[in-house]
Assembly symmetry: D2
Homo-oligomer: 144 residues x 4
């Protein structure tokens, strides 16, 4: 059990979905915040910066969305199912956007190769959480 | 025209929806970030802290969601309609949650009275933006 | 009196320095967070992006430092003089860095001209706060 | 080598101090952001919330300072030695404050016991970085 999962287990109100899955999503968001922040910084120092503007812009956005998602997921004692659901959706999409753009540069920029991998892992962890039965009602409302 | 709107007008890609409405939503989010941050801090210093825990928890969440919403809205040159839409939805709900709880304490805590007002203004500004025709496709998909 | 100053006045512990100066610094930081965020976004969409990399990198840093400074300054009920002092120093420097780089591009990029102005105002507001007698002890320790 | 260290090694400008130490500090800040965020949330859901207000307030501040420190440290391509130094100092102090308060509650709140441990690790990692020779000039100026 990681520190994150152990912390979640201590919250007196309990956790509204699987603590292991929740911890995995939080840790994936924090990793992605780190990777996207450095990837954007490296993009802007590359000789081919003119090709890297989109990547930097996407990674900057992704870092911010991962940050707030990690923060909200870390507060199970004041859970608003709708807010968390919307943030997870925004996070999955932001990570997919960054991963796709990083993939285009992965062969010549090592930071993009790593960032693509970390973004995909974060999209997967947050996507898995969206499948939790806690969100079933919201999925029904969306006709999904 | 405010600094925010003037800044948005300078972005070379243009702004994907009304710059005035967008600037109003950004400024409302920044005001709400400030007010919620101080309201939560004050809650935890009140003699009746035992009654103020929910308010503090909601305002802490609201501040973080307003912060990321202001950041993403401030970056029109890399707009992902879906991400922005989901953040706006999360922001409207977070502001409503804080406003409703603050309303319960507004008669005896002045910070809650101000915070309620600012949260309602932010929910309104972000809700107005969600009505923009830029999001029509997403509204149709949701069957709304 | 602004909302920010009025909020600060409601905190039951009181405010450890001038509420008006404190509110001015908070509001300047929030304005600077907005301006720097949009300036960096616009930089990366300009045709001369190769010339704008340093500006984008500085403005991204400045936005983050202004954000955390606004947050900590907004919590007078748990003031750590040393932490606030160090953040203010980091904020003044970050704003100066962005202002100087933006000044180099102000004649051909309108976002840089506005951003320079807003960064200088934030450096001034935070610098004024550092002169408050609340920080006298820390100034003496630094031999300043 | 962790993802963080590997990312730092890819930045074209190089890293102005030991990449391993820098990565350790970044990862410690991200862990501390998580732990402090959940600790504050749990504090406000405890039956003895009246005793936990100081802990929550300190952990909320610590989370924000760790967040911005992790972000700035993750951007070696636009390093301002002075800004990084001041953030590291603010971060060490914030972590010490949280650790000391959490220690008072560690015997009866498991989240405080974990949070104390993680805060001390973060204070250590950031303190180690402050000892790097890159900051020698700043240490001399401070007469330390």
């Amino acid at each position: 059990m990681t520190d994150t999962e152990e912390m979640l287990e201590t919250v007196p109100t309990g956790v509204p979905l699987s603590a292991a899955d929740l911890a995995a999503a939080i840790d994936a968001c924090l990793r992605c915040l780190q990777t996207c922040t450095t990837c954007a910084n490296a993009d802007l120092a590359e000789d081919d910066i003119a090709e890297m503007g989109v990547c930097a812009r996407l990674c900057i956005n992704c870092a911010d969305v991962c940050d707030v998602t990690a923060r909200l997921l870390s507060r199970p004692a004041q859970w608003d199912e709708f807010v968390v659901h919307r943030l997870l959706e925004a996070c999955v999409r932001s990570c997919q956007n960054s991963a796709e753009e990083c993939a285009r540069h992965a062969h010549h920029h090592r930071h993009c190769a790593i960032c693509e991998k970390v973004c995909r892992a974060c999209a997967k962890a947050c996507g898995d959480l969206l499948e939790d039965e806690a969100f079933e009602q919201l999925r029904k409302l969306a006709g999904a």
